[in-house]
């Protein structure tokens, strides 16, 4: 029965993107002077794995490109080509191209064939000209003998050891080729180890007319006279031994000691016979080792929607528990105490379940941080600045959705740090600084929040220049006196930039505005602390998750609203003399050496309040969109964790409202979107 392979496409794309991240990371760590063999193997594995998967799924362009890339990597692995900076750059470009190809294929969009062809041409050019740039690696030139076998010249056995004749039997499975494995490359590697004689067995080879051309019908007997240990021979077959029968024996009939970690499977598993593991099988390099690792770690790949469904159900459970708890208070009689005890037990179990489920969605921030070494390297090269990136706290976990959305703001920040923060080497040297600038990215848990810091040791913000620019733009009045912190806050204003030259890196003044908006949209906030000549620190504070929010319940009329705790600063009752009405009728009150406007929530949401006089209700000071305001409410009801229910999914967007939740009594409360509320109130006042 034919298996619909499209069901495995998403898994293939996900794994390939992850593998490309690993490849990029290995490339960035690669020391071109003395490359680490394991790093090259990792890179090779990725290319081989993607090629295998792409071939299985019929993504021809990806297969073809990765084939060329794999050939180059094979040359590098065999030390027939020396890794230079140019090759390293080319390999990094290959990562970009493969990402783009996978992205286009996944989105069913056309592949940029020209970009692929150009890079493939460059790669093949290096392979063709390998002799010119090759290391002093031995030649694997071969010469035919009468039996049609090939012989290889001895390889780099500078220290002569005991020569052993190894008898190798290779019987590939029928899908050997289709999984991206090419025996000629394996044999070429073997030929480097010593004298190689190859005999092909064509007994199973049908006529041209009858054969399935992609299927492997050949098998081989090889004799290798070499002083290489068995492990070195087996290593060459490491990525294919799940797809073939392989025996390696020392001549004389005695079996040479086997590498315990590399058992040779004797049963082939065709893809069609084992659909759940098709990806692993489609990726021969990863198959044996990676599958084993996957088994060892006991991990499984689960769709996000399944986890979200689980979280949603747990959320419903939280609400049901709150309802039960409320009902139990009214229950009297002999069983009431037992009922309350049982509900308490239910609460403990439910909290544990809730925490466990939430943890499933938590991922290390390294998934986002990992893109920055490459970006810093490329941008540093482009701007001719020497920049070192330090990353700490990359194991800090945060919610997947937060993780996905925090990437772009961080990109903006890091680009700005390199473009505006870090000075050119000459300027740094003149200032007595290390010519290599440093950007430090750190993540940590603080209370119920995640803190992400991006700092640089560059020139810092030029407050005088920012203020002058703000005055010129009319953002700040000519006679306004601003504190250093207030001046630094100006960089987050829309369209504000002090850059004299607008480049494609930064300078249009949209970056920092977007950063603040994106962070606000995630329920977080961003602060900047900068010192002239010493550098800047951007501190982003984010909620741990977007599924549950710590909220302050407030009452306005018969409605209950939830204010996210992260936006809440303080609540206070204002005396009649503390409020000032300014010329346009707006009410403001003094708060910590500042005047804050008051937003009457009942007016904003058009509900009938219980309190209209400010001294009859309460003002909650909140912060959002870079501003602080006082929200006038009837009363505070308490602080509680609430499960977020999307309003937009179930109803539609409402100004000033982020989401909804269900309270213990079954009623619906709206969770306020503080930044949107502030922006909306400003617009209304302006109108």
């Amino acid at each position: 029965m034919a298996i619909d392979l499209t069901q495995f496409h998403d898994a293939f794309f996900d794994e390939s993107f992850e593998a490309l991240d690993a490849m990029e990371s290995s490339l960035l760590k690669l020391d071109t002077g003395s490359p680490d063999a394991e790093s090259i193997n990792t890179i090779f594995r990725v290319a081989h794995s993607i090629k295998g998967g792409a071939a299985t799924f019929g993504f021809g362009e990806i297969t073809s490109f990765t084939h060329s890339l794999e050939t180059l990597l094979d040359e590098l692995r065999g030390k027939r080509i020396t890794i230079s900076q140019r090759i390293c750059d080319l390999l990094l470009k290959s990562v970009d191209v493969m990402r783009a190809m996978l992205g286009a294929t996944k989105g069913k969009q056309p592949i940029d064939a020209q970009a692929v062809a150009d890079l493939q041409f460059d790669i093949e050019l290096i392979i063709v000209h390998r002799d010119a740039g090759a290391a002093a690696a031995p030649s694997s030139a071969t010469a035919p003998d009468d039996s049609g076998a090939a012989t290889g010249a001895p390889a780099d056995h500078e220290e002569p050891g005991r020569l052993v004749e190894w008898l190798i039997e290779l019987r590939p499975g029928p899908e050997f080729f289709e999984r991206g494995t090419d025996p000629v490359r394996i044999f070429r590697e073997l030929a480097v180890l010593g004298n190689l004689l190859v005999t092909a067995h064509l007994d199973a080879l049908p006529s041209c007319q009858d054969m399935h051309p992609g299927r492997c019908y050949l098998s081989w007997s090889l004799s290798l006279v070499s002083d290489a240990p068995e492990a070195a021979i087996r290593e060459i077959f490491e990525w294919v031994n799940a797809d073939c029968d392989l025996t390696v024996k020392a001549s004389g009939g005695a079996l040479a000691p086997r590498k315990a970690a590399a058992p040779v499977p004797t049963v082939l598993q065709p893809v069609s016979a084992a659909p759940p593991s098709v990806i692993a099988e489609a990726a021969p390099p990863a198959s044996a080792a990676q599958a084993a690792n996957a088994m060892d770690s006991g991990s499984i790949r689960v769709g996000v929607e399944k986890i979200d469904e689980l979280i949603n159900t747990v959320g419903e459970l939280v609400i049901t528990h709150a309802m039960l708890s409320q009902i139990s208070r009214a229950v009297t009689g002999p069983s009431s105490e037992a009922l309350r005890t049982a509900i308490q037990q239910l609460e403990r179990n439910m909290r544990q379940l809730q925490e466990s489920v939430m943890r499933v969605r938590m991922l290390p921030i390294s998934a986002v941080f990992s893109r920055f070494p490459r970006m810093v390297r490329d941008l540093g090269q482009r701007l001719e600045k020497q920049v070192e990136l330090k990353i700490t706290g990359e194991t800090t976990e945060l919610d997947k959705t937060v993780l996905e959305k925090i990437g772009d703001p961080l990109v903006h920040l890091v680009r700005n740090c390199i473009d505006h923060g870090i000075e050119p080497a000459a300027a740094r040297a003149a200032a007595g600084k290390n010519v290599v600038g440093t950007i430090h990215m750190n993540a940590s848990h603080r209370g119920g929040s995640i803190c992400i810091e991006v700092s640089d040791d560059g020139g810092g913000l030029d407050c005088e220049r920012i203020l002058a620019k703000a005055r010129t733009a009319g953002v700040v009045g000519a006679n306004d006196n601003l504190t250093r912190e207030e001046i630094q806050e100006l960089i987050f204003l829309p369209g504000f930039s002090t850059a004299e030259i607008t480049t494609d890196v930064s300078g249009r003044g949209v970056g920092m505005d977007v950063v603040r908006r994106n962070v606000s949209d995630l329920g977080g906030k961003i602060e900047v602390h900068s010192e002239r000549g010493r550098g800047s620190l951007f501190l982003i504070t984010l909620p741990l998750t977007l599924a549950i929010v710590d909220g302050l319940s407030v009452a306005v009329g018969d409605q209950t609203y939830i204010l996210p705790m992260m936006s809440t600063i303080e609540s206070l009752r204002l005396g009649p003399t503390q409020v000032t009405t300014i010329a346009d009728g707006r009410e403001v009150f003094g708060f910590r050496d500042d005047y804050l406007p008051i937003i009457r929530l009942y007016r904003f949401f058009d509900v009938t309040p219980r309190a209209r006089a400010l001294h009859d209700g309460l003002v909650v000071v909140v912060e959002g969109a870079g501003r602080r305001v006082g929200l006038f409410v009837d009363d505070l009801l308490g602080q509680q964790q609430v499960v977020i229910k999307s309003l937009e999914t179930n109803y539609g967007h409402v100004a000033g409202i982020a989401a909804a939740t269900i309270l213990g009594d079954g009623s619906v409360a709206l969770i306020l979107d503080v930044p949107d509320l502030i922006r909306g109130a400003s617009r209304r006042e302006a109108a």
Partner: protein
């Protein structure tokens, strides 16, 4: 006697099939993704062809699957008594054939 021999020779010549040659140009990309087309191309060679030349001049990329296919084709042709030749840049082709132990088969000797 001599004229009798000549007439026999003439008679034999006239009964021998006319030599017919075919050139098969391998495309630039002869890898797994295009191998179906290559097989169709090889299978389309008429049975009465006596000399087949594999033209490798355009060939840029090939893999073991291609060599296996050509090996099967070469063996079929050898059994049929067809001469198989190759032209073009053979260095890489021959090196791969040697490494795979297919030199003799591709030359139509086995």
């Amino acid at each position: 006697m001599k004229s009798a021999r000549k007439s026999v020779r003439r008679a034999r010549r006239s009964s021998e099939p006319t030599a017919r040659s075919e050139v098969i140009a391998l495309p630039a990309d002869c890898t797994l993704r295009n191998i179906g087309a290559l097989r169709d191309q090889l299978c389309a060679v008429p049975a009465d062809v006596t000399n087949i030349t594999l033209d490798l001049r355009q060939l840029e990329r090939f893999d073991t699957a291609t060599l296996q296919l050509v090996a099967a084709f070469a063996r079929d042709q050898m059994r049929r008594g067809t001469n198989l030749l190759t032209c073009g840049n053979r260095a890489v082709w021959d090196e791969a054939a040697e490494l795979l132990g297919l030199t003799a088969t591709l030359a139509g000797r086995v």
